[in-house]
């Protein structure tokens, strides 16, 4: 069974149609690429899948544990609780909080000790805090950010901010991870490191990943299947080799190397 099934998804903003009749499937542990020219509706699609925008039409079905749940109309935090996490095209860290607090905030959804227990400092509070501290540091270590745990997130260099965003998303313990242009603004060496990192994440955390990316070499190298969006519609989907030679894709990207 697919972990994510999208059926005829459509989003209208006033008279503008950002996505129309998008059909998309993601299988467990799969790495899917989502490409398309600027303004093709990729981020809008992410926003619908994560609950930020409500779809105008269509269905989003998510099956984290082998049972399909309809995501339409659920608030973003509820979608996250079900097991979907994301990063943002324009980095959206909690800039004036520390690196480790950024990660701990993403763990908030699983905290069991209540507000009263925190205010009165009951033992359950200390237990939870110790657990979060340990898990957050482990996660940061994977991203080579543990040395900077106490720095303000806003003070990190650009590449590290991108990595922290991925770490923060993983802290929600997702089954499905959306990465919105993770390599944007990175130099070739950083991009190569990121490619390796994404592969490692997929193995270690057993997640399915959908990524939007403009860097074609990264997409072709990483993704097992690719969807191409243009003017809000899926114009092609398939294996990287198929996409590379697809006529409609080349037309959509006319002038760009594929």
């Amino acid at each position: 069974m697919n972990i994510l099934t999208v059926k005829n998804l459509t989003k209208n903003f006033g008279g503008l149609c950002a996505n129309s009749n998008v059909n998309l499937e993601v299988r467990p542990q799969e790495l899917v690429g989502l490409i398309g020219p600027n303004g093709a509706g990729k981020t809008t699609l992410f926003n619908m899948l994560t609950g930020v925008y409500e779809p105008s039409e269509g269905e989003i079905l998510f099956a984290p544990n082998g049972k399909e749940i309809k995501l339409n109309g659920r608030k973003p935090y509820k979608v996250t609780k079900l097991g979907i996490a994301r990063t943002f095209q324009n980095i959206r860290l909690f800039t004036s909080l520390s690196v480790i607090d950024n990660v701990k905030i993403a763990m908030n959804k699983d905290v069991k000790s209540g507000v009263i227990s925190s205010i009165l400092r009951l033992p359950s509070h200390y237990k939870e805090e110790a657990r979060m501290e340990r898990e957050a540091m482990e996660l940061l270590a994977i991203f080579h950010l543990d040395e900077k745990a106490d720095e303000l997130a806003g003070n990190l260099p650009y590449g590290e901010q991108r990595r922290l965003e991925i770490a923060r998303a993983l802290a929600t313990k997702p089954k499905l991870l959306f990465l919105d242009e993770p390599a944007a603004g990175m130099n070739p060496q950083e991009t190569a490191e990121l490619t390796a990192l994404i592969k490692e994440i997929k193995q270690r955390f057993q997640v399915s990943i959908v990524l939007i990316e403009h860097d074609m070499s990264l997409v072709m190298k990483l993704c097992e299947r690719i969807y191409v969006l243009d003017y809000g519609k899926v114009i092609a989907s398939g294996l990287p080799e198929e996409i590379r030679t697809n006529k409609r894709v080349i037309e959509a990207y006319l002038g760009e190397e594929v």
Partner: protein, 318 residues
């Protein structure tokens, strides 16, 4: 239990006792005479109010201009109970009644209002606060209308005020330095990102708003127990502004900043009392000058560091 007695906590406890002893000594030898005591109590009540507002504005990032409304609910609830039940029991019951009523009303206000952002939220809270004040004015049978409540027993004293401040501080700090506090701060930082990380932003905004309102209510109760009379006019828009000025002057998100700012502004107001007619002119110019030259407040969002007072030694993450 051993978690409670960290070096840091013990230092703060010692510091608190020293401050308490210092003020009690100054009062006992009459350096803080009865006139200064009035000023001091006012400052103390303002601190309680400012801590509550700081939780709303500084921590959760929600801009409220309606703090006086919640203070009014607390003051009137406490005043009404104290007129019926004497002594400490009446005062405590009044504070409790005020908290319950305020929490209820704050919750009713918060659920629809906190969807709004920034200036819109500010104006909506201002509107609610005015509605509360007008409602109190028009409930003649219960509140005495525009003439207000009289002959409320005076129970508020230094111990009450100091105790309330210490308890509020501990509660707020404990809240802020917990998973729930971090989630609240994430709402201030970036609401959309917070929501996408699984934080129920509505819940945490409401939580901070209600706790802040309850602190305003306790501040109101202390006020009621201090001044014998209550009239609706006290709780107008200007009262909310006074508290807001303290919070912004101290630094949004800085509790120690709020305390220092409340003291400074309280003392400035005391000195300005000698210039009766010019007082408000000088005060308004001061507000403008402070905002223009220190837009981030005295402390920014930093806190006074206890370790820096005791010893020059960097603290580890706690």
């Amino acid at each position: 239990m051993k978690n409670w007695f960290t070096k840091n906590n013990i230092r703060w406890a010692v510091f608190t006792v020293l401050v308490y002893a210092l003020f009690q000594y100054l009062i006992s030898v009459n350096i803080i005479n009865s006139y200064y005591q009035v000023v001091l109590y006012n400052i103390g009540i303002n601190i309680v109010l400012a801590l509550g507002l700081n939780l709303i504005i500084g921590y959760s990032g929600q801009f409220s201009l309606g703090h006086a409304g919640f203070m009014a609910i607390g003051a009137y609830c406490a005043g009404l109970v104290m007129l019926k039940v004497d002594g400490t029991v009446g005062f405590l019951a009044g504070i409790g009644f005020g908290i319950v009523m305020t929490a209820l009303i704050a919750l009713i206000i918060a659920i629809p209002t906190l969807r709004l952002r920034g200036d819109y939220l500010a104006i909506a809270t201002l509107g609610f606060s005015e509605v509360i004040r007008i409602a109190i004015t028009n409930m003649d049978d219960i509140t005495g209308g525009a003439a207000g409540l009289n002959n409320i027993p005076k129970i508020t004293n230094f111990n009450w005020i100091f105790g309330v401040i210490v308890i509020s501080l501990v509660l707020i700090v404990n809240f802020a330095r917990s998973s729930h506090g971090r989630a609240t701060a994430s709402v201030r930082e970036d609401e959309i990102a917070a929501e996408s990380m699984g934080v129920n932003t509505t819940k945490y905004k409401t939580l901070a708003f209600v706790i802040g309102a309850c602190l305003a209510s306790v501040g109101g109760a202390l006020y009621a127990g201090n001044f014998y009379t209550l009239t609706p006019g006290i709780f107008g828009f200007m009262k909310s502004v006074d508290i807001l000025v303290i919070v912004v002057f101290g630094g949004m998100g800085s509790l120690s900043g709020s305390i220092v700012a409340a003291f400074l502004l309280g003392l400035i107001n005391m000195f300005l009392n000698d210039y009766a007619e010019l007082r408000m002119i000088i005060y308004s110019v001061l507000i403008i000058v402070i905002m223009v030259y220190r837009p981030n407040g005295l402390f920014g969002n930093k806190e006074l560091n206890i370790n820096a007072i005791f010893k020059r030694k960097g603290g580890k993450r706690s």
